[in-house]
């Protein structure tokens, strides 16, 4: 150990003719990503254990008796790897064609359009909608949409069996709501007896939504409101005109975009990307592998934003007069509060209790307990986390 840093053994491999070094234990995909080599994937999510099932990431390794999945195969020192050639590209194209042959052609009306990993691969391999329906025409699934709870909707017709929802629920959340049901072509990553999520241990964190590469799992709050239509149209327009969403927004004269901020619900500090169109929040996501949250969110971070634009939100202080809450001014309201607290401070400071919140910053919380103890003179201070 030198300088307090752990010594990690390094290996050297050759990828597409270039030598790369990496820590021992890295997968071929890890090394490729670190060196800017693009290998297509579908069942890979950096937060999850590798699965090796979609077969998109197959690469040729000299001396190996078969093609190896880059996401799963550990790189050995001296390995010689080819990530692309005619054969590999042809296989990848066939795989995408096969997946699309069992996928509803609804990109126009699907809110995942523009972010869908399958769609991106179809574009990459030049597979048009009409081609995909004819090359491997055959039986498709016809599952009913699952919309039994207000948070997560599931459409197994768009499922590509990557298993990411299962793995994130089990490995990251430790809950395990989903598992593969049935076998073969009829298999889906479902719930036991196809029960609605509210009858399973599901906590509605929405992590499955965050990892699903297609539109198979979506968040209902982002889908069901009218304002979402604008977002959908925006996305589809961008895909059609091949413009970035920022440029499109500018062209359309729409204000607002994506704001990165820190979630205020607790002390974890997960990063949020708040998507805004026309001054209305339309979606919350979390940037992958960034910060302490690493792209994960809980139910509060992911869904707990509706209060921002809620009609029920107070915009003016209210003072109760004759039993009825009446709109007032800040001066009047704060004056009244100062007056009443002042009286209490003189006569009975302990008749005042101060309750604070995790949603306030550390600085605010410091001030508020100072206010309670030093200003009012009471020790009746508590915090929502203890309740």
């Amino acid at each position: 150990m030198t300088n307090g840093r752990l010594e990690v053994e390094e290996i050297t491999v050759e990828i597409d003719g270039s030598k790369c070094t990496a820590p021992k234990g890295s997968t071929i995909l890890d090394i490729a990503k670190a060196n800017g080599v693009d290998i297509p994937t579908l069942c890979y999510d950096p937060r999850l254990s590798p699965y090796g099932a979609c077969r998109l990431c197959l690469v040729e390794v000299e001396g190996a008796r078969a093609l190896l999945p880059a996401c799963y195969a550990q790189a050995d020192d001296g390995m010689v790897i080819r990530t692309t050639n005619e054969k590999l590209e042809r296989i990848r194209k066939t795989l995408v064609e096969l997946l699309m042959s069992d996928h509803p052609m609804e990109c126009q009306g699907c809110s995942k359009s523009g972010r869908c990993e399958l769609q991106k691969l179809a574009e990459r391999y030049g597979i048009t909608e009409s081609e995909s329906t004819s090359t491997f025409a055959g039986e498709t699934h016809e599952y009913e949409m699952h919309r039994e709870n207000p948070f997560v909707m599931r459409d197994y017709n768009k499922c590509i069996m990557c298993g990411r929802c299962i793995r994130i629920c089990r490995e990251v959340q430790g809950v395990g709501v989903y598992d593969f049901v049935n076998r073969g072509f009829k298999a889906i990553p479902g719930t036991p007896y196809d029960k609605p999520l509210q009858e399973t241990p599901c906590e509605f964190c929405g992590q499955c939504i965050s990892t699903c590469p297609t539109g198979a799992i979506k968040a209902r709050p982002y889908e069901d409101t009218g304002r979402v239509a604008a977002r959908d149209m925006l996305r589809n327009a961008c895909a059609y005109f091949k413009m970035s969403e920022e440029d499109m927004m500018e062209a359309l004269g729409l204000e607002g975009w994506v704001t990165r901020t820190t979630c205020a619900y607790c002390g974890c500090g997960c990063q949020l990307d708040i998507h805004v169109i026309d001054n209305k929040v339309v979606e919350i996501t979390s940037p992958l592998m960034v910060g302490s949250g690493q792209g994960n969110l809980c139910v509060k971070g992911r869904f707990g934003y509706e209060f921002i634009g809620s009609d029920e939100r107070l915009t003016k202080p209210l003072i109760r007069k004759d039993g009825v809450l009446v709109e007032s001014t800040w001066e009047d309201a704060l004056g009244l509060v100062a007056e009443k607290l002042g009286e209490a401070k003189k006569s009975s400071p302990d008749s005042v209790a101060v309750l604070s919140s995790a949603r306030a910053t550390n600085e605010d919380n410091y001030l508020i307990q100072k206010f309670a103890r030093a200003v009012i003179g009471t020790n009746n201070v508590d915090h929502c986390a203890r309740l």
Binding site: R170, G176, V177, D179, N182, R183, P192, T200
Partner: protein, 175 residues
């Protein structure tokens, strides 16, 4: 051969958790024993009822999703009750070449049920299965624990009658 109709008391009732107790104490917390757990539960109850699966999952420390995933993966596990006799017509290669389809059709005709279904009197359930490994006697079918080989469609009715007991199999058919 006189056989008492035992359709209801061959298996334990799903409200009787005695067999579950026995199975759990046998396997306890043995690593990876999920499949034997389900096999023995099915032997005891005739099929895997949701209630039983929940009990096993809870007591053995598995998620229900895991248990359900395993139960629906393997052909042996049934999530619905079956009749007194399970008829398995083999559709392995040798049997296929020897006319297994005709055998299934004949059994289907005789009993008035389609594959996967159970007769109304709960006597027989018909299934098509993959190779049972008695290829030289193709085509074969297994009724309960008995293997019948070198089948001809003309001989099916006679075989089924052996098991009919007090409630005879579909009488209406001739030939």
């Amino acid at each position: 051969m006189e056989k008492e109709c035992t359709c209801s008391n061959r298996f334990a009732d799903v409200d009787d958790l005695g067999p579950v107790d026995e199975i759990i104490s046998k396997y306890g917390s043995e690593k990876g024993a999920l499949i034997p757990l389900l096999q023995e539960a099915q032997d005891a109850y005739g099929y895997l009822d949701e209630k039983i699966m929940r009990e096993l999952a809870q007591r053995a420390g598995y998620q229900l999703s895991q248990v359900f995933g395993v139960a629906t993966f393997f052909s042996q596990f049934r999530l619905n009750p079956i009749g007194e006799y399970l008829i398995k017509v083999c559709h392995g290669t040798a049997c296929h070449v020897a006319g297994a389809t005709q055998i299934t059709d004949e059994v289907s005709n005789q009993l008035g049920v389609k594959e996967g279904e159970t007769t109304p009197d709960n006597k027989f359930t018909l299934e098509s299965v993959m190779c049972l490994g008695a290829c030289a006697l193709a085509p074969i079918m297994v009724v309960g624990d008995d293997t019948h080989g070198k089948l001809k469609p003309t001989g099916i009715k006679k075989i089924l009658k052996q098991y009919a007991g007090p409630t005879a199999a579909a009488e209406g058919d001739d030939a």
